[in-house]
C-alpha cells in the first residue's frame, strides 16, 4: 500500500514538471509582454532594459529553472498586468470559481440523476422523449451561445436576474469570500451555474439512463421483482444503487474540468474567477499569472486523479495484488 502511494506521488510530481515545461515552451508563442507593459513613447533601449531586468532575454532553460525554483517555494512573482503578487491574485479569485463549480456540479448531479432515472423508467413516455431531445441541444450548443441566450432572455428581456458579476459578497475569514449568503449573490449565481452545468447535466443524465437500462435487465432485478418487492424498492433500492459507482466517478472527475473550463462561462458572465483572470492574462501576456494558473489546474487534476486511484485501490480488491512496477 505505502509503496503504491509513493509510486503514485512520484508520478504526480513528474506530471507537474511536465505540465510546467510544456506551458513554459508555449509562452514563447504568446508574444512579448513588454509591449503591453510600457507606453508607446518608451524607447527601444528602455524596453530592452526592462526585458533584461525581468530575465526575458535569458535562455528558456534558465528561465524555466528559475521558475521551478521559485514555484517550489510557493513564489510566483508579481503580475505584469495588475502589479499584485500572483499567489494573492489567484487566491482572491479562487472562491468565485470554486463556488460556481460546486453549485453547477451539484445542479448537474441532482438534475442529471433524477432526469436520467425518470427517462430510464418511462422509456417510451412523451416527456422522456422531449427530455432526451432537449438534452441533445444541451450537448451540442456551445457554452458561449447558451450564456448569451440566457442573458438575453432573463436579464435583458425579463429583467429577473443580473447579467454579470457576482453580486454582493461576504468575507468569510481572511481567505474566502462567498456570494451564497446574500440575495444578490445567489441571484447572480443562477445563470452562470446553469450555463456551466448544462453540459455536465446532460452527460450525467445520459450516463444514468444507460446504466439504469443495463441494470434493470439484470437477473437480480428480475429476482427482486419476483420476490414481490415494491417498484419503488426495486428501482431505487437496487437498480439505482448499482448504477451509482460509475456515475460518482464521472462526476468527481468532471468537477476538475468544470473548474478548469469555467473560462468561457466566466468570460460571458464577467464572473470574477480564475478563468477570467487567465483569459485577461493571456491577452496581456502576463506570464507569471499564466504559469501559476496552469500549475494550479494541473495540481487539481493530479490530486483528483490520485484520490480516485486511491479509492479504487480501497474499493477493488483485485488491485491490491501487487504487480511490481505496474500501477493502474
Amino acid at each position: 500500500m505505502i509503496a503504491f502511494i509513493i509510486r503514485r506521488l512520484l508520478q504526480s510530481v513528474i506530471v507537474m514538471i511536465a505540465v510546467a515545461a510544456v506551458s513554459f515552451t508555449l509562452f514563447r508563442f504568446v508574444g512579448d509582454p513588454i509591449n503591453s507593459m510600457v507606453g508607446q513613447e518608451t524607447s527601444i533601449a528602455d524596453r530592452q532594459a526592462l526585458r533584461d531586468s525581468l530575465g526575458l532575454n535569458d535562455p528558456i532553460v534558465l528561465q524555466f529553472g528559475r521558475f521551478l525554483g521559485n514555484a517550489l517555494q510557493g513564489e510566483f512573482g508579481i503580475s505584469y498586468r495588475l502589479q499584485m503578487p500572483v499567489t494573492e491574485l489567484i487566491l482572491q479569485r479562487l472562491p468565485a470559481t470554486v463556488e460556481l463549480a460546486l453549485v453547477s456540479g451539484l445542479l448537474a448531479f441532482v438534475l442529471g440523476l433524477s432526469l436520467g432515472v425518470y427517462t430510464a423508467l418511462r422509456r417510451r413516455g412523451v416527456l422522456s422523449n422531449i427530455i432526451m431531445t432537449a438534452s441533445l441541444i444541451g450537448v451540442s450548443l456551445p457554452t458561449f451561445l447558451i450564456g448569451v441566450l440566457l442573458i438575453w432572455v432573463f436579464a435583458v428581456e425579463l429583467r429577473w436576474l443580473p447579467s454579470n458579476g457576482r453580486g454582493e459578497v461576504v468575507a468569510l475569514g481572511d481567505c474566502w469570500s462567498t456570494g451564497l449568503l446574500t440575495h444578490s449573490g445567489r441571484l447572480a449565481l443562477i445563470l452562470p451555474a446553469i450555463t456551466l452545468g448544462l453540459y455536465q447535466m446532460t452527460l450525467i443524465m445520459r450516463l444514468v439512463r444507460a446504466e439504469m437500462l443495463e441494470v434493470l435487465r439484470a437477473d437480480y432485478i428480475k429476482f427482486a421483482r419476483a420476490r414481490g418487492l415494491s417498484a419503488r424498492a426495486v428501482n431505487f433500492g437496487h437498480a439505482l444503487k448499482n448504477t451509482l459507482v460509475p456515475v460518482i466517478t464521472i462526476t468527481g472527475l468532471q468537477l476538475g474540468s468544470i473548474i478548469a473550463f469555467a473560462i468561457i462561462t466566466e468570460t460571458v458572465f464577467n464572473w470574477p474567477g480564475v478563468g477570467a483572470l487567465f483569459i485577461n492574462s493571456v491577452r496581456f501576456v502576463d506570464v507569471p499569472v499564466m504559469a501559476a494558473y496552469l500549475m494550479m489546474i494541473a495540481l487539481i487534476f493530479v490530486v483528483i486523479n490520485l484520490i480516485v486511484d486511491l479509492l479504487y485501490y480501497a474499493v477493488d480488491p483485485r488491485l491490491r495484488v501487487d504487480r511490481a512496477g505496474k500501477a493502474h
Binding site: T42, I44, D46, I78, Y80, A155, V156, R159, R283
Partner: protein, 525 residues
C-alpha cells in the same frame, strides 16, 4: 378634506421633497468599460484605461478639454522664463488640498517630477527633456529643460501630482518595480487632489469612487462612480440594456445602430485621437515576403497605385458601419499641422492603379500584410478589405493577422514589410508623429518607424522643430516636413477612429478625444 387626509398629503409632499432633494444630492453613475485600470500608481502605466480612472482621483497641472485645448488645472498659468528659454515657469493654484487634508504646494510638484523621472516610471519618455524641477517659492516651480521646449505643457496633461509626505510615509517614493518581486503600496491606495476619492477597489471587479468635498473646482453632479470592467462586448451591452450599468464606454460598432433605436439609451459619438494607417518598407533593397527580386514598395508607381486602390468610403460603410472619418492625412484633424489639403482623398481608380502596377511588374507581385486583430476597431476586417482591393490591381497580398503582443514586436524588430498601425497624438502636435514614425530610427527617435523611412533632410527639420521658439516659423517647418512625407507616400492612411459612448437617457457626457471621459463634468437631467 379631513384633517387626517391633509396631514397625510402634507407628509407625503414633504417626503417627496426630501426624496427629490436627496436625488439631486446623490447621483451614482455605474461606468463599464472593456478593461480595468492596471494599477492605481499614478506614474507606473501609461495606458488608456489606467489614465482615465486615475484622472478622477489625481489632479494634473494642465488639463485637456474636450475640444483638445489646454486648460489650467493645478497650475493656473505657465510661461517660458523671460531670461532663459530652457526654463518653464509654472504658477500653482493656492488653497488646494489632497484627499488626506494636507496642502498642495510646490514641494509636491517637485517630488512628483522626481518620481515620474524614476527608472521604474512608465512616463519617463514623455518628460525626457526635463533635467529637473525646482520650487522657487511655495506656489512657483521652475522646470529646467535640456533645451528650449516651446510645447512642453502639452506633455503635462497625464502627469499626476502626488503628495510628497504621503509617498514618503508609505514608502512609495518610486513606482512599482516588477523585478523586485514585491507590491508597491500605491498600486491599491491613493491620495490625490482630484474630484473623487477612492472608497474601495477589487481589481477587475469593481472600483468605487465618491466625491471629495474639498475639491477646488465646481462640485460635481455625479457624487459616486462605480467602475466595472466587463471584457465581453455582448455582456457589456446586455448590462446597459438591463439597467445594471449607466454608461458603456466601449460600444462595438455593430451595436450602435440598434442601441440608437432602443428606448432609454442614448449614443454620443466623437472623433478619437487615433488614426489607422498602413506603412511599408520602401527603403530596403529586398523584402522578406515578396516574390519579386527587388523591393516593390521602392517604386513610386506602386505606392501611388496602392493609394488609388484603397477605397476608404467602402471601408467606412461596410467595415466600420459609418463609424470612421476617412482621411488621407496620417494624423487626427485637431492636431497641430493638419490641413484640409492633406486630408483630401479621391475616389478609387482601379484601372489606372492596375496599369501602374503592370508598368513595373507585368505579372503583379505578392507580399505579406501584418495586421493586429485585437487592438483597433475592426482592425482585422480593415486588412481583409484592403487585401481584396489590392488583389484587384495585381498585388497578391497574404494576410498575417494576429494578437497585438505578436504584432507590435514585428514593427519594433523591423520584421515586417507591410503593416497596419494606429497612432494617437497625446501632445496634439505633429512633432510627436515625426519623432516616432518619420525620423530615422536612432536613439530615442523612430521607435515605430517600421517602414524604415530615412531622409536626412527631414530628420534635420524634425530635430530643428524640437527647440524652435518662434511658433510661426515652427509651423512653416512642420508644413514642409508634411509636404515631403505626403509626397514620398510614407503612409497609406485609412481613417480616424470615431468613439461611441452609450448612456442611460438623461446622462449628458462628452466624448473625449483621448477616450478619457471625465465624470465630474457630467450633467444629469
Amino acid at each position: 378634506m379631513t384633517k387626517l387626509a391633509r396631514a397625510l398629503s402634507l407628509s407625503a409632499s414633504v417626503a417627496a421633497l426630501a426624496l427629490a432633494a436627496g436625488a439631486a444630492q446623490a447621483e451614482t453613475v455605474r461606468w463599464a468599460r472593456v478593461a480595468d485600470a492596471l494599477t492605481l500608481d499614478p506614474h507606473s502605466q501609461n495606458e488608456g484605461p489606467t489614465l482615465a480612472l486615475l484622472r478622477h482621483v489625481y489632479g494634473t497641472l494642465v488639463s485637456r478639454a474636450v475640444d483638445g485645448s489646454l486648460t489650467p488645472d493645478l497650475a493656473t498659468s505657465w510661461e517660458i522664463h523671460p531670461e532663459d528659454p530652457t526654463i518653464w515657469v509654472l504658477h500653482l493654484r493656492e488653497g488646494v488640498t489632497f484627499h488626506d487634508g494636507s496642502a498642495f504646494t510646490a514641494e509636491d510638484v517637485v517630488f512628483s517630477y522626481e518620481r515620474v523621472l524614476h527608472e521604474s516610471s512608465g512616463f519617463r519618455a514623455i518628460h525626457a527633456d526635463v533635467v529637473g524641477a525646482e520650487a522657487v517659492d511655495e506656489y512657483t516651480v521652475h522646470v529646467q529643460m535640456s533645451g528650449p521646449s516651446p510645447l512642453y505643457p502639452n506633455n503635462l496633461t497625464n502627469f499626476f501630482i502626488v503628495d510628497k509626505t504621503w509617498a514618503e510615509a508609505n514608502d512609495v517614493v518610486a513606482p512599482q518595480n516588477y523585478a523586485a518581486g514585491e507590491e508597491n503600496f500605491a498600486v491599491r491606495n491613493t491620495n490625490g487632489t482630484g474630484p473623487y476619492q477612492l472608497v474601495s477597489r477589487d481589481p477587475e471587479v469593481r472600483t468605487v469612487l465618491s466625491v471629495f468635498d474639498g475639491y477646488y473646482g465646481d462640485a460635481p453632479q455625479v457624487t459616486e462612480v462605480i467602475y466595472q470592467p466587463i471584457a465581453e462586448a455582448a455582456t457589456r451591452i446586455a448590462a446597459l440594456l438591463s439597467g445594471e450599468v449607466d454608461f458603456v464606454q466601449d460600444v462595438p460598432v455593430q451595436d450602435i445602430a440598434r442601441l440608437e433605436q432602443t428606448d432609454g439609451i442614448a449614443i454620443t459619438t466623437g472623433p478619437e485621437n487615433r488614426n489607422i494607417f498602413f506603412a511599408y518598407n520602401a527603403t530596403s533593397p529586398t523584402l522578406r515576403s515578396t516574390n519579386v527580386a527587388d523591393n516593390p514598395f521602392s517604386h513610386p508607381e506602386i505606392r501611388e497605385a496602392m493609394a488609388l486602390a484603397l477605397d476608404r468610403d467602402a471601408i467606412r460603410q461596410v467595415v466600420m458601419r459609418g463609424q470612421s472619418q476617412p482621411s488621407a492625412a496620417p494624423l487626427p484633424p485637431f492636431v497641430n499641422g493638419w490641413t484640409e489639403e492633406m486630408n483630401a482623398y479621391g475616389a478609387p481608380d482601379y484601372e489606372r492603379a492596375a496599369e501602374l502596377v503592370r508598368s513595373v511588374y507585368p505579372d503583379g507581385f505578392s507580399v505579406q500584410l501584418d495586421c493586429p486583430n485585437d487592438r483597433y476597431l475592426n482592425d482585422e476586417a480593415i486588412c481583409q478589405a484592403t487585401v481584396g482591393m489590392l488583389g484587384r490591381i495585381g498585388i497578391n497580398v497574404s494576410l498575417n493577422s494576429q494578437t497585438r503582443s505578436l504584432h507590435f514586436p514585428l514593427i519594433e524588430n523591423l520584421e515586417t514589410d507591410f503593416y497596419l498601425l494606429g497612432w494617437g497624438v497625446p501632445t496634439f502636435d505633429s512633432a510627436y508623429v515625426f519623432n516616432f514614425l518619420v525620423h530615422t530610427r536612432e536613439g530615442s527617435y523612430g521607435a515605430y518607424n517600421g517602414g524604415q523611412y530615412s531622409n536626412p533632410e527631414v530628420d534635420a527639420m524634425i530635430e530643428e522643430i524640437a527647440t524652435m521658439t518662434d511658433l510661426d516659423e515652427r509651423n512653416a517647418t512642420i508644413a514642409r516636413i508634411w509636404d515631403r512625407v505626403m509626397e514620398d507616400r510614407v503612409f497609406l492612411n485609412v481613417h480616424n477612429q470615431l468613439l461611441a459612448y452609450a448612456v442611460r437617457e438623461g446622462i449628458n457626457i462628452d466624448v473625449h478625444p483621448e477616450n478619457s471621459p471625465t465624470l465630474w463634468t457630467v450633467t444629469i437631467d
